[in-house]
Each structure stands twice: as structure tokens, then as C-alpha cells.
């Protein structure tokens, strides 16, 4: 477009008009060429994202008898359990994100300060769990945390506790299991952004007499915020749609939104019941992303909206 605007400057002169037309035609050809290059990608996005989501929305508007209705949405207000599920979903996402920040920030900070070779070895340990199935990891946690699991047995044998701690089949179990799975999603973007922080800034701060703590607080931490923000957004949004871990670790007492979707698809004979749940989750997630973008600026949510 800069070519077009430059040619406008010359629009007054007769020889410029010819030139401008040629330039404009060239720009148009280029734009068409780009569009042609983009079209397979656009077609793919349209056919595997836009169309199914549109379809999902369309399905959610029909009731059991095939009539157009808002019954699938009205249900969320009529049945107290849906609101409860919604609240639980956010509570879990919130607590897990908090726990990830608590564990992930020091971890990422340590990784960023280590020599390159040591850091890459440690990073492998962060990424390693990615290659193990979520189901296997969740069952492993169950073995570790349950009433007669490793932790409780050790603590009882050591005489630390008399009664087993309730660590599995409840809210705590879900949070522990999910935090473990989500941690890399926070650490990786955070580590990447910490690595880009210019060490000279920190040196300059200390040269001017700041204590190490003050340097961290006033220079390093603010500079790491964009990475932290994008990690938080990824973790929070992924948590909202979690299924396996709460289903296995929650003991049926921590019901999250995705579990209700599965329930609704088998309970109701129309796809609309489950589809409506999906539409609500999608809308809320998009609204949240919008909110984050507005609060934290484009950099935080850049993972999705890099333009």
C-alpha cells in the first residue's frame, strides 16, 4: 500500500498519472498474487475451522424435536448445576494458573540464569512430560496421591501424619494434576522472554547502586511481564477446556465444562445440547482473550494475534 500512497503524491502531474497507474496495476497484481498464495491456507482455515464452528452454532439452536429454539441455552439458567459447573471451571483454571505462576516463574528464572548447556539439559526435563500421554501422567498422579498412595504411605510411615491426607478424588487432586500438565505451557514462553532481557540493563542498574533485589524488582521483573502474560493466557485458556485430569482426579466432585459436554451429548438425543455448551465455552474464551488483549496490550496475546 505504501507504493500506492507514494504515487498519489505525484497524482497532479501528467507524467505522474501514467506512472501512478502503472504502479497501481503492479500493486494490484502483487496483491492478487499474494491472495493466490494465501488461498490454500485460507481455504483450509475456512473449511476446518470456520465451517465446523458455524455448524456447531447452528446445531445449538435446535431442540430435541428439531425445532428452532433457545432451549439448549435456557437450560444453563434453569439447572443450577450448569452455573455451578461454570463456576468450578473458572475456579480450577484460576487456581491452576496461579500455581503455575508460583512454580513456573522461579523455574524459568533459574533456567534463564544457567549457562546455556545446563539450561538446555534442564529444559529437556521441562519438555519431557510433553511426550507422555496426559492419561498416563494423570494415572501416575493418582497412584502417588491417593489414600494408600506413595505420599500418604511415606508420611504415615515417617510418623508425620496419623490420617491419610485427602489429596486425590477432590479439588486438590485436580489442581495438582493439572498444574503438572500445564507448567511447561507457562515456563516455555516465560523462559523465551527472559532470555531476551538485555543483561546490560541489569548491570547498569547495579552500577547505579541498586541492590540485586531492587534490580530484579525494578528491571528484570517488569521486562519479563510480557512473557509471563502470554504464558498465563495460554495456561488459563487451556485449563477452561480440560477433560481427562478433572474426570479422573476429581472423584466426580469436580465437574468441569468439557465433562458436561460429554455428558450432554450422550444424555440428549439432539446435538444441540452439547453444541450449546461448546458455543458458550468458545464465546467466553474469545471474550477472555479480548479482555487480556485490552488489559495487557497486543504483546501478551501475541501468540494468537501476531499481525
Amino acid at each position: 500500500m505504501s507504493v500506492g500512497s507514494a504515487s498519489l503524491d505525484h497524482a497532479g502531474r501528467p507524467d505522474g498519472v501514467l506512472n501512478a497507474d502503472a504502479l497501481r496495476a503492479d500493486a494490484r497484481r502483487q496483491a492478487l498474487g499474494l491472495l493466490a498464495l494465501l488461498s490454500p491456507g485460507l481455504f483450509l482455515v475456512f473449511s476446518i475451522i470456520i465451517v465446523p464452528i458455524g455448524w456447531l452454532f447452528w446445531l445449538s439452536l435446535f431442540d430435541e424435536t428439531g425445532q428452532l429454539s433457545l432451549a439448549n441455552y435456557a437450560r444453563f439458567f434453569e439447572q443450577a448445576s450448569y452455573i455451578k459447573t461454570f463456576a468450578t471451571t473458572f475456579k480450577v483454571a484460576f487456581v491452576v494458573t496461579g500455581a503455575c505462576v508460583l512454580f513456573g516463574y522461579p523455574l524459568a528464572y533459574m533456567l534463564s540464569q544457567l549457562p546455556r548447556r545446563a539450561a538446555s539439559i534442564c529444559l529437556i526435563f521441562v519438555i519431557l512430560p510433553f511426550w507422555t500421554s496426559v492419561l498416563v501422567r494423570t494415572y501416575a498422579w493418582l497412584v502417588i496421591l491417593q489414600r494408600k498412595g506413595l505420599i500418604n504411605n511415606w508420611l504415615i510411615d515417617l510418623g508425620v501424619i496419623g490420617q491419610p491426607l485427602p489429596l486425590a478424588n477432590n479439588f486438590a487432586g485436580v489442581v495438582i494434576g493439572m498444574t503438572h500438565i500445564m507448567l511447561p505451557f507457562l515456563v516455555l514462553p516465560l523462559y523465551a522472554s527472559m532470555k531476551t532481557i538485555d543483561v546490560d540493563c541489569l548491570r547498569a542498574g547495579m552500577n547505579l547502586g541498586a541492590s540485586p533485589a531492587a534490580t530484579f524488582r525494578q528491571i528484570f521483573f517488569p521486562l519479563s511481564l510480557p512473557g509471563l502474560a502470554s504464558g498465563v493466557v495460554i495456561v488459563f485458556v487451556l485449563c477452561l477446556g480440560f477433560f481427562v485430569t478433572p474426570a479422573l482426579m476429581g472423584g466426580g466432585k469436580v465437574i468441569m465444562w468439557a465433562m458436561r459436554m460429554e455428558q450432554a451429548t450422550s444424555l440428549y438425543s439432539n446435538w444441540g445440547a452439547g453444541a450449546a455448551l461448546g458455543v458458550v465455552l468458545l464465546a467466553v474464551t474469545l471474550a477472555l482473550l479480548g479482555l487480556f488483549q485490552w488489559l495487557l496490550g497486543a504483546r501478551a496475546t501475541g501468540v494468537w494475534s501476531r499481525r
Binding site: 456447531l56 448445576s81 474426570a247 466426580g252 465437574i255 459436554m261 460429554e262 455428558q263 446435538w271
Partner: protein, 344 residues
Amino acid sequence: MTKRLCIHGLAGLLASVTVPASAADTITVASWGGTYQEAQTKAFFDPTAKDLGITIKQDTTNGLDDVRLQVTGNAVKWDITELGADECARGSKEGLFEKLDYNVIDKSGINPKLVHDDWVGISYTSVVLIYRTDVFGDKGPKSWADFWDVEKFPGRRALSGSQATETLSVAALAKGTPIDKVYPVDIDGALQSVDKVKGHIDAWWTSGAQAMQLVKDGEVDMASIWNGRAGTLKKEGAPVSFSFDQGVLTADCMVIPKGSKNKDIAMKALAKFVSPDLQANLPLYVDNGPANEKAFETGKIPQERIKDINSSPENVKKQVLQDPEFWRDNLVEATEKFNNLIQQ
């Protein structure tokens, strides 16, 4: 779920181009997979294939959703599929199945409640009360009233959170309803009964494997569980005890999905599956009892095995038969109310 919808779409798209490839002498049967389907293969599928000179291909199903997907998407790939009886009743109401021909299928010996225009009973599972003998010795809870009695039987408990139908049935038994009066279930009464024990339930299980794991690892001391899973625990040597007293018998059924391309052969195969002779094979491989009570008259099942089969005439008397048609009409309302209650 999104994946399902995509499949739905694909199925719809493919329907117009799919060539009916399967030869007339090949049918596809879908069941639940795992050890149960392996047992069915030996008990039903292999002998039938041999007798009729056909090939029986196998697939696994997730239940009524899958059938609905195939039938409404006009892409039926199964000729026979297994479902829970309440799913059969619901699918029948939705018109998802072909009518069965009882001139081909001999229905004698099958409980009339499980013989319908478009579906027929195939086997039974029981919901039973299991308890750990290392906690209670042999003085564990013997009835659902005992299970509900948290003072007399302190300990950790699990009930099914996903099968509201089963949990409401045992809740009705817990408040003293006699076995033959449980159906039709007084849903509000049963919910009140669940409400009483709710605070003492440490886990609401959502799958058979989970129920088994909870009991096996001692996470709970007593639970409701499917008899097949309970039997496996016992065979593995876990310190557990269970009986069929006050069990809830739930039937499985088989149907021919509407639009099956090999309907006639499927009908003949289904007739074989429910025949006393093949039905008698099932308990030789798995704990799910035969739906046809004449199976017990064939002499194929050893006497000492009969007492362990949930659908043997002796054991049937001790249990409640879950009524599929009652749940066809009340499932959605009861499940939503049940979910509201246990999530409070």
C-alpha cells in the same frame, strides 16, 4: 464432541460417494470392546459365522450417539450393534432401528420386557454392593440400607455419578423399597435418599475401570460396582466381597441400525446370538449373564458356575430388573436433577 461433529459432517459428505462394498455374506457387528467383546466373539460371533457360512467383522461402539450419527448421517456401517437397554428404548423412540422379524428370531426364554419391535435383550450386567474384607471382615454392609448407614458402617464410599439410573435404583432400595416395588422409581424419593448419603460419598465414579481402581487401591471401603468388575477384582485376589442380593440387573440389547445393507443376514445372525445354545456360551467366558433363561436348561453351563451368574433363575429373584422404558421417558429429567444434587 467437536470431533464427533466433524465425523458427522464427513460421514454426510461421504455418504453420497460410498459404494456398498460389503459383500452380501459379510456383516459388521459392534459391541463394547475389551474382554466382554472377546467373550462375545467366542460365544456368539465365531459359532454364528461358522453356522451361517458368513464373515462377521467387528467394531466397537460408544453407544447410542454412534448409532444416531450413522443413521442420521445416512452412513450406516454396522449391521448389528449392542447398546444398553435404556439406549435401545430411547433409540427406538427416535426411530433409529430396523424392525426385527420374530419369525426368524425365537424370543422364547427372553424376558418380555426385553423383547420389542426393534430391539431385543442380549445379556445382563448387575450393579452390586462390594466391600473390602480387610476393613470389615465378613461383617460388611450387606444391603443398600447398610451402605447408607454411615454410623453402623463407617468408611469411605463410592457410587456411580455417571449412571444416574443405577444410583437412583439403589437409592430407592436403600430407603427400604421392596425389590418388586422399585419400578416405577419414585424419582424425588430416590433423590432425597441420595441427598442423605451424599455428604459421605468420597468419589462418584464415571467408568467401570474407575470403580474397580477405587476399590482395588483401597481408596474406598465400599462401592456400587458392575458385577463383571467385581468378579475380576475377586479373581485377582483383592480382599473384597459382594453378592447379588439387592443387585440391579441392567440388560444390554442388540439392534439393527436403520439402513443396514445386510438386514436379512443380520436378522439370522441375531437369531443365533439370542438362541439358548449360543447364549449358554457367554457365561463360560465372562461374568455377564445370558438374556435367554433357556440357556440354563442347555446343560452347557456347569452347575457350580450357575450360582455365580447374575441372570440365573436363583439370582434374578434377588435383584431388581432395571426398566428400560421407564428410563426412556425419565432419563433426562432424572439425570439433570441428580447432577444438580450431587454437585451442590
